[in-house]
């Protein structure tokens, strides 16, 4: 909708302008043939011209190429518009040879021929159209990065021009044909003077020059030099005369815009001339800023840690045009340094790299002082002289720290083959660069960690499910035993296992264990463990023998960080005995039926898979206890005693013992419930860190 209405407005403006101009042309035509020009009609004609100009102005203003704000585009359009004025004034002169009445100075002019009238009309209209465009372009150039005052000044100039045109109209509307500085009155002088001052003031506003790079400055300068003399020559030529003859109003407008163009172009040329010596420095500064900007963008776009590191040296090389660049990351606690990214250096070079010189160490200096170092002649600086052996042609060096939370986490080096290759501005730039890079590196690092965490969480979920599948779905139905077990898994670390093996009618094997490590590997080992136990339990009749064999197998099959703590017990209901061995596991607690006393059994033994066998076998003990009616055996894993409350205190063996001394007469499942209940009220809101397994076996002899 908006576009349509805009276009309609354009059309209306265009039609109105054409209408006015056509009407004027008709009047001119009429008077040409009647050879009579009543002065009151001439005044009306001038007003119509003013309106036509206003309509044209708003029409031109609406064009997108006038709205475009790009400075280079503005300069190009200005050049084209000025050329346009030349063409509009010079071309018709070649195409339509004319002869004006030179004798009269009175307005309106009686044109000598129809051709002259046509010529005058076309030149005036086209030149003025270009002048209007020029005015808009100049306005934008002047307003570039300007303050409010400039805008006011500009409008003041336009109002002055309007007043001038109107004054001219009233004063000389029907009497003056020679438009020049000669024979002007005081008002005219004041108005022209004021306009000139305004133009000069506005011509100082050439901030856009700063936007151009060196090449563009030179180009603009020569374009200006070309245009200026041409403009002056043209203004003196008779072409402008045809505009005066057409309309004094138009002539006044065109003339003052033309003056404005000369003055502004002249000032701009001076401005460019003044900026030229510093143009290349300015260019570099701009380049640096854009590189910094580039790095900032890289920060948000590159997520991969290694890619960020690579990008840092890449951009450093680009911005400082350095020959060598490398980035050392530093472990804040050990100060161990490692080159993680480099440019201009190959891997063989890297092997021989060392910054440890005879006269102190540059890296240490930077880490301690948290400040950059600029060395412009490497061969004369004792701290880095040795670098010459590493890279013969390395002559200037710039090193800046990457500082995070007050610690130097890395050092960025840039080096050049030339001596005095860097200045203090480079140093500041690289430091700013390094600060940005630090943020980028840390962001990437955080992301890397969080992805790792997510992967781990996924693994743990799988481990968790596997673990639950390995636990017995129901307790063994043995007439003389009341058994209850529970495994409260922590969502993270898990490796608890318990199970039962029915050896024969009167013997039951009981296992409780804890696989060290975390995640999926623990779950797999648990499955392996279960398999080994079930296979061996029927072959090896004594717990000690079984554990000894299991140790040998496990030691061969698990990685060195992994080990298993475990108790294997055989309850023999015929002999009324329990035999058990403890491979590094929590002690077995036995509650006596008479006194309710809690006894603790911790026969010697070490974890499975810690030792290949000899030591394990030598240490491992086996214990045998009689079982009596009402005896309660409590197996558990360290998750129970190591469970912590929010204050960080452990549940501990004492609390467990205290709970167990109060359970007389309870069934196995009631005992488990009691322990869990007590544990929960102790732990409260604290997070569970480890699996908690409890296995209660109560003897109920008939």
């Amino acid at each position: 909708m908006k576009i349509i209405t805009l276009k309609r407005t354009n059309l209306i403006l265009f039609v109105l302008s054409i209408f006015f101009l056509a009407f004027i042309f008709l009047i001119d035509l009429g008077f040409y043939y009647t050879r009579n020009y009543p002065s009151n009609i001439y005044g009306l004609r001038e007003f119509m011209i003013v309106f036509a100009l206003l309509f044209f102005s708003s029409l031109i203003y609406r064009q997108h190429y006038i709205q475009e704000k790009d400075i280079l585009f503005k300069l190009k359009s200005l050049f084209v518009a000025i050329l346009g004025v030349y063409l509009a004034t010079a071309l018709p002169k070649f195409l339509l040879p004319i002869q004006y009445y030179k004798t009269t100075t009175d307005l309106p002019v009686l044109f000598s021929s129809l051709m002259t009238l046509l010529h005058s009309t076309f030149v005036s209209i086209f030149a003025t159209l270009f002048f209007i465009a020029i005015l808009f372009i100049l306005r934008d150039l002047i307003f570039y990065k300007s303050k409010k005052g400039t805008r006011r000044l500009f409008w003041a100039g336009l109002i002055l021009l309007l007043i001038y045109v109107l004054y001219e109209q009233f004063q000389y509307g029907n009497a003056h044909a020679e438009w020049s500085f000669k024979g002007r009155d005081r008002v005219e002088w004041i108005l022209s003077g004021a306009m000139l001052i305004v133009m000069m003031l506005l011509s100082f506003r050439t901030a856009w020059v700063n936007m151009l790079n060196k090449k563009q400055k030179i180009l603009t300068f020569w374009a200006g030099v070309l245009i200026l003399p041409g403009a002056i020559a043209l203004s003196r030529s008779s072409s402008y005369q045809s505009i005066y003859y057409y309309s004094l109003t138009v002539a006044a407008f065109d003339a003052y815009v033309a003056y404005f163009v000369y003055i502004y172009v002249l000032f701009s040329l001076f401005s460019i001339l003044l900026h030229l010596p510093t143009a290349s420095i300015f260019d570099r500064k701009m380049n640096e800023i854009s590189s910094l900007h580039n790095l900032s963008r890289t920060i948000s776009s590159v997520m991969d840690y290694d890619a960020v590191l690579k990008k840092v040296t890449e951009l450093t090389t680009e911005v400082l045009s350095s020959d060598y660049c490398w980035l050392e990351m530093i472990d804040p606690s050990t100060e161990a340094r490692k080159i993680v990214s480099w440019r201009g250096i190959n891997k063989t070079n890297l092997k021989h790299y060392s910054l440890d010189g005879e006269e102190g160490n540059l890296s240490h200096w930077i880490i301690r002082n948290k400040y950059s170092v600029l060395i412009n002649d490497v061969s004369k600086d004792l701290r880095v002289k040795h670098l010459k052996f590493w890279k013969k042609d390395l002559n200037s060096l710039l090193a800046v720290p990457l500082i995070s939370k007050g610690n130097v986490i890395g050092i960025l080096y840039a080096a050049k083959r030339t001596e005095f290759g860097f200045d203090n501005e480079d140093r500041e730039l690289l430091q700013a660069f390094a600060n940005q890079a630090t943020v980028a590196i840390e962001n990437a690092n955080l992301l890397k960690e969080s992805i790792e965490r997510e992967r781990l969480a996924q693994e743990l979920r799988v481990a968790h499910e596997t673990q639950l599948k390995l636990l017995p779905k129901q307790m063994p139905a043995v007439e003389q035993l009341d058994i209850e077990g529970i495994c409260i898994t922590a969502n993270e670390v898990g490796g608890d296992y318990y199970g039962f093996i029915s050896l024969d009618d009167s013997r039951l094997g009981i296992i409780i264990g804890d696989v060290s490590g975390k995640g999926i590997s623990a779950a797999f080992y648990m499955a392996e463990l279960k398999g080994i136990i079930e296979a061996y339990a029927r072959i090896y009749q004594s717990p000690k023998e079984l554990l000894s064999q299991m140790n040998r197998v496990l030691y061969q099959n698990v990685d060195r960080q992994t080990f298993v703590s475990l108790i294997y017990a055989i309850v023999d209901l015929q002999k009324n005995r329990i035999r058990f061995s403890r491979a590094g596991h929590c002690p077995l607690l036995v509650i006596s039926p008479d006194t309710g006393e809690v006894l603790r059994f911790q026969p010697a033994g070490m974890g499975l898979a810690l030792d290949e066998g000899k030591l394990f076998d030598r240490i491992l003990d086996e214990q045998e206890l009689p079982i009596r009616d009402g005896n309660i055996f409590v197996f558990y894993t360290d998750g129970l005693t190591e469970a912590r409350n929010p204050e960080g205190d452990e549940f501990g063996e004492e609390r467990l013992t205290a709970v167990l001394s109060q359970i007389k007469g309870k069934s196995a499942s009631e005992i488990v419930d009691t322990i869990v209940h007590q544990l929960k009220s102790f732990v409260g809101e604290a997070r569970q860190h480890d699996d908690i397994s409890i296995l209660v076996v109560r003897v109920k002899k008939p």
Binding site: S333, G584, G607, L615, G648
Partner: protein
Amino acid sequence: MEQNQFEVIRQDQDDISILTIKGYLDAHTAPDFEKAIQELLESNRYKIVIDFSDLNYISSAGLGVFMGFIEDVRKNGGDIKLAQLNDRVFKIFDLLGFPNLYEIYENLGQAIEKFKSA
């Protein structure tokens, strides 16, 4: 409950490296500890004393770190000796039978001395 933080501080005395470990050594922090030992081995330092005085807790994953390196260390003529374990941490070591596998000392000086006299 944010005492879970873990920290390793390395100190070198001649060819002996002392790693002081602080806080909680569990599944989450074990990789940090692993890295510290790895770095020692990479620079061929095999005489290692671990100072436990500021360690509050060690989980099985933490214990696994010792097991992961001990073989390599001993093969290279070094050892990992443990010193200044608090009661709670010692109990965990003891339960698993670690005193059979590692030399455990009441104070740091003894451990270092043991290396020097060997």
